[in-house]
Symmetry: C2
Subunit: 428 residues, 2 copies
């Protein structure tokens, strides 16, 4: 087109692989409004004039269906870009084939540590970019905290559902980072879907560890905190952390409340609980996006909470994924390449910082997003209200305490006892 040398004039075939089922926070009915929002933004932008996106959705069912959808696509109809899958096993299968076919994959999932070796020659995941902070990045937060307070021992408690295995993969990241940092770790695994959780039994094992880190369902965390509080472990000899993975608002104010007779006790126990979660963003553009998402979800009949953000990490991530892809595509096209040059587009996305919908997004040299995390805690035990007390910024590894922070919350007043003997099954 004369006089418009910068026009991209191309149509990008995008295959989104996410589950249809809304029990997943990253179901495509939930995430599609965010992708659509990004598509409209891009198609309006002068910088990307001429660029069109044909987006179609495949139900990954958090399983092997995603792989089937990809391998059943005839050679001349293969997508230029895959968004998703989120579930680790589905993502591994799809990314392997997509990488082999030179197709970039961007996911707000695939957070497990097993994907991290992407840059070796023989990597099966060479074309994977992770737009949400991985479990390993989250674990760096713990390393920074352990370093800051000079703690040496940790006890990890996690719920392994043997299905999605989010907490399993989360603790794998924590374990790897803390081990590298020579923290002594022990652990207990439970499966709340298959068996009654013996909270008190588990808590008997934490005596020897300074820090207890939990990843489990909200009800299980409550049981564990109640058991710890009854055994008087909360106040002086142990520090308790809970990992809240996906900004899904099942933590913070009122999270102890169930309307049962243990509410008061639980509230008291929760005044000793620290929750590690994604740093929440507040920039004005994000509020617009958030309002829009709430409206779209409500129109689809998906329930949204009234006084909290309707946007979770996955919606934000897949929105930003399309932005990032467009920026990278524009760059490689300016170098004379095309949308078919999947590896070059992928590498152009890596080691890059750009403005996402909620704030700056920074990808490291291996295409994994650097994460910013917060520690929140009940700062008013009477009112039961929570505040952010510490923030960790992954891009530069800095760790800052906030005004509500109190040093005494993180001081151990008595040494932990030695741990009792313990046996673990091998096929974990």
């Amino acid at each position: 087109m004369p006089g418009r040398t910068s026009a991209l004039n191309d149509n990008i075939n995008v295959m989104v692989m996410l589950p249809l089922n809304n029990t997943y926070l990253f179901s495509y009915p939930r995430v599609s409004p965010a992708i659509e929002y990004a598509r409209k933004t891009l198609e309006r932008a002068e910088l990307f004039a001429g660029l069109k996106f044909s987006v179609h959705y495949e139900n990954s069912a958090c399983g092997v269906d995603a792989l089937y959808a990809l391998v059943d696509t005839p050679g001349d109809e293969r997508p230029n870009l895959v968004l998703g899958p989120v579930c680790e096993y589905a993502a591994a299968q799809v990314t392997r084939v997509a990488s082999h076919w030179n197709i970039p994959v961007i996911s707000a999932g695939a957070l497990a540590t097993g994907f991290r070796l992407k840059i070796s020659e023989t990597s099966e995941y060479s074309h994977l970019t992770r737009i949400a902070p991985t479990y390993l990045k989250m674990a760096e937060t713990f390393q920074a905290i352990f370093e800051h307070f000079a703690w040496r021992t940790a006890y990890l408690i996690y719920d392994d559902d043997k299905d999605e295995r989010n907490c399993y993969f989360t603790m794998e990241g924590v374990y790897m980072v803390l081990s590298d940092y020579h923290i002594v770790t022990d652990f207990a695994v439970l499966n709340s879907q298959e068996e009654r959780v013996d909270a008190d039994g588990i808590i008997t094992s934490v005596y020897g560890s300074e820090v207890v880190i939990m990843c489990a369902r909200a009800d299980t965390v409550r049981d564990l905190m109640l058991a710890s509080h009854r055994r008087k472990l909360t106040s002086d000899s142990h520090i308790f952390f809970n990992i809240e993975l996906f900004n899904s608002s099942s933590y913070g104010d009122g999270s102890w409340r169930r309307g049962d007779k243990y509410d008061n006790e639980a509230k008291a126990a929760y005044s000793f609980l620290n929750t590690v979660t994604l740093l929440r963003s507040t920039k004005p553009e994000f509020e617009d996006f958030s309002m829009e998402m709430k409206k779209s979800l409500q129109q689809s009949g998906i329930p949204v909470c009234e006084d909290c953000s309707a946007v979770n990490m996955f919606m934000e991530g897949f929105h930003d994924a399309l932005l990032l892809y467009a920026i990278a595509l524009r760059e490689v096209m300016s170098n004379g390449l095309t949308k078919k040059d999947g590896l070059e587009i992928t590498h152009s996305m890596w080691n890059r910082t750009f403005e996402g919908i909620a704030g700056q997004v920074s990808l490291d040299a291996s295409g994994d997003r650097n994460g910013d995390f917060s520690v929140i805690r009940m700062t008013d035990p009477e009112a039961g209200t929570h505040e952010t007390i510490m923030n960790y910024f992954g891009t530069n590894g800095t760790f800052v305490t906030m005004p509500g922070f109190k040093r005494e919350w993180f001081s151990l007043r008595s040494a932990p006892e030695p741990p009792p003997p313990k046996h673990i099954e091998p096929s974990c």
Copy 2:
């Protein structure tokens, strides 16, 4: 063809997926003579007149290349039958896609427990037939032995190379079977490729267990037996087993010998070692096959031992795989179906007993071969010669002792001590 209504008159496109590298016992240079032998047998047989096989080989490299070879095959050129892969991860990836495309897969590998749920509606491995006894079938041998001698506790020691992971998957099978049978198990994992094996350190952990079961390289087993013998654990308080997986003749007469100063001590230690391995066959047709294989391997420049069988489990298995496929294909074609009816062919292979090259081959109702296993032991500690002392027949679950067997070898004369406290890392 008039008067030859039984002629099959079809050409079967067979894709063999095995590694090229001869360091694998199941490399395709090793296995191809066996497949060729079966092909010739079938093409000569009146029963299969008209049936031709086009066999081509893909280098699976024991990895993701097998998947790539399959997904890169255009729709109209897809194979009618896949033989292999053997390596668990490669087999999982290929079987998933082949099952989705209705292509039967027969492997003499894919022995891990994870493949066992093949008959559910949603199984990813619906088209997989396993022609060699799986790890779970091998583990049944231990159950039979434990039941026979009324042992209650086991200590599992295995070498996990984090690559092929044969011993890991083997012990997973043993652990699952023994746990179902309420045997108390504990374990130690080592990685001889990455670290020096502290044999004595490992042996300090076995005190509390009646039975020690090892799966490791020959040198590691020797170190462990030496350490046990020096601690006087061999003679009265513990029973030692070694699992020799693939009939690869690194056990039996002279297996303790290294030409170092520990040979005599090792020989004495090995007089307490029991080795569980595949039952060896002796029928005359097998000797012809064996001679033929030896010749073919020598022609390819692959070294074969002089006084032992050149045939391993994989060669035998893939030979029988082609036979089994032909029998099943013939049956479904007699019912008016074709080579395209992959699921029907697969199910026709299951729950079937036929005459393989080394003896009867019996597939269970899930398409897994029933296994026959032997326990061999040094029966003359002076000469150091070994004999089979027990056999286990998987098809009917019977367990028989042989003439060389002595009851005293399996009698515990003192109770094991309680095990010392122990901690295990979570991300195993």
